[in-house]
């Protein structure tokens, strides 16, 4: 099952690479640099998906106290943090040639950075508690509060930034996407979603085996 998922993800990523470098046209104003979008956008979308899964799995755990829900939340949070980190790094690499800076306190950058530290804290909490059942309960509460915080973070950071500078300068990507670019983006989104599912399934399996081993 896991192996099949893994191969699916590999095929998806190979297709994504072909689409991103072979099929998608060279963007007119930014040139080849724009192709970072095929990594940047899928990773951030998958990160949001991952944190939504953490929320659902956390609620499910508090409700049913099923260890499987906790393993899902744990695995999904780890992969979510990984993909958020990838988003930030890819964004910085894209930002340097196009905006002239690795980092700027733009609304969207700031929101993602806050998410990153929030879920890093979630993983830190997990790491600090030896007792498995207690770690599951505590992180479920944190997973719910953190997810509820995401809309608040978005609104507050958006208002905070837009009062200072217009976002028009920092609008990444082309205003209107050509068919080729859109198709390549969609293929990559599917590929990274498959990769996410594979990582989570694999990690959840490892977590289950760890629980089976007597401490």
């Amino acid at each position: 099952m896991n192996r099949a998922l893994g191969w699916l993800a590999v095929i998806g990523l190979a297709g994504g690479l072909i689409m991103a470098f072979g099929v998608a046209p060279r963007e007119v104003t930014q040139g080849n640099v724009q192709r970072i979008m095929y990594l940047h956008v899928p990773t951030v979308l998958v990160a949001y998906l991952a944190f939504a899964v953490v929320l659902v799995a956390s609620i499910a755990y508090l409700w049913r106290r099923d260890p499987a829900a906790d393993r899902l939340a744990h695995a999904s949070a780890e992969v979510g943090v990984l993909f958020t980190g990838l988003t930030i790094v890819a964004g910085a690499i894209w930002g340097k040639p196009t905006w002239g800076t690795w980092w700027t306190w733009d609304a969207r950058l700031t929101s993602v950075a806050i998410l990153f530290v929030m879920y890093l804290g979630y993983l830190l909490l997990r790491g600090m508690i030896e007792d498995r059942e207690r770690a599951a309960r505590y992180s479920a509460v944190l997973g719910i509060v953190a997810a509820l915080d995401i809309p608040l973070v978005h609104f507050s950071v958006y208002w905070w930034r837009t009062l200072h500078q217009p976002p028009s300068l920092l609008k990444p990507g082309p205003a209107t996407m050509s068919q080729g670019i859109l198709a390549a983006l969609l293929v990559n989104i599917v590929a990274f979603a498959l990769l996410y599912v594979y990582f989570v399934a694999k990690r959840a399996t490892v977590l289950r085996r760890e629980e089976e081993v007597p401490a």
Partner: protein, 225 residues
């Protein structure tokens, strides 16, 4: 016993303990006075600069004293098996959470009012006009902070490296509240009226409701120890 009465008893018990032991409030007030000194020394004697940064400095000191004060909220329950006593109380356990939040709110608001007076005194700022607006902004910001802070204090009470973990978990979650509170305080101190920052007040109100509801619903899972 009604729900409100049980929440009240928790609040009363904590207030009584605090009155007799004077463990938290005195230390917090002293700590915030020291913060004031530190701001003066690190930012230099330039009064204009201090006044311009005042909303940020105010909330920075509220947050720092809050981190020190709220982190202790459940430590007292770990002694003499008090935690087990809380666990054995009849009825909905979220009343305990509500009582603790109320207690922390009172504690923080007390410190905030005194800090505000000290800031006005030491930095020679006229806050008289801003007081009605601040009377709305300070509680709005403090409810959200106390709601999550109390929840996370219960969470970290049993975790090693609690002193580090508590701020590390609380601060990122509190960024929306901090942004809103600083913006609204800025408008209040500038005497602009709160009309221009109505959206921030709405955000603070929404955050307060979201955090309180989340806390009430999930606190049970933390109390199990």
């Amino acid at each position: 016993m009604t729900y409100a009465r049980r929440a009240w008893i928790v609040l009363w018990k904590d207030a009584l303990t605090e009155r007799r032991a004077k463990a938290t409030l005195n230390a917090l007030l002293f700590f915030s006075l020291l913060l004031l000194f530190i701001f003066q020394f690190t930012l230099g004697g330039d009064r204009e600069r201090l006044v311009a940064a005042l909303p940020g400095l105010l909330w920075l000191s509220f947050v720092l004293t809050g981190l020190v004060g709220l982190g202790r909220a459940f430590l007292v329950e770990r002694e003499n098996d008090c935690w087990d006593g809380l666990l054995m109380t009849a009825g909905d356990k979220s009343a305990i959470y509500l009582g603790k939040v109320a207690g922390n709110m009172v504690l923080m608001l007390l410190v905030e009012v005194i800090l505000l007076a000290l800031f006005a005194l030491f930095f020679n700022v006229d806050i008289g006009r801003a007081l009605p607006a601040l009377a709305l902004v300070l509680p709005l910001g403090t409810v959200g902070f106390a709601a999550v802070g109390t929840l996370f204090a219960a969470m970290t009470a049993h975790v090693r490296a609690r002193e580090v973990l508590f701020p590390v978990l609380l601060l990122p979650v509190q960024i929306p509240v901090l942004l809103g509170a600083v913006k609204a305080t800025d408008a209040a101190l500038a005497g602009e009226g709160l009309g221009a920052v109505a959206h921030w007040l709405q955000l603070l109100g929404a955050a307060d409701v979201v955090y309180l509801v989340a806390g009430l619903l999930t606190f049970d899972a933390l109390l199990e120890g």
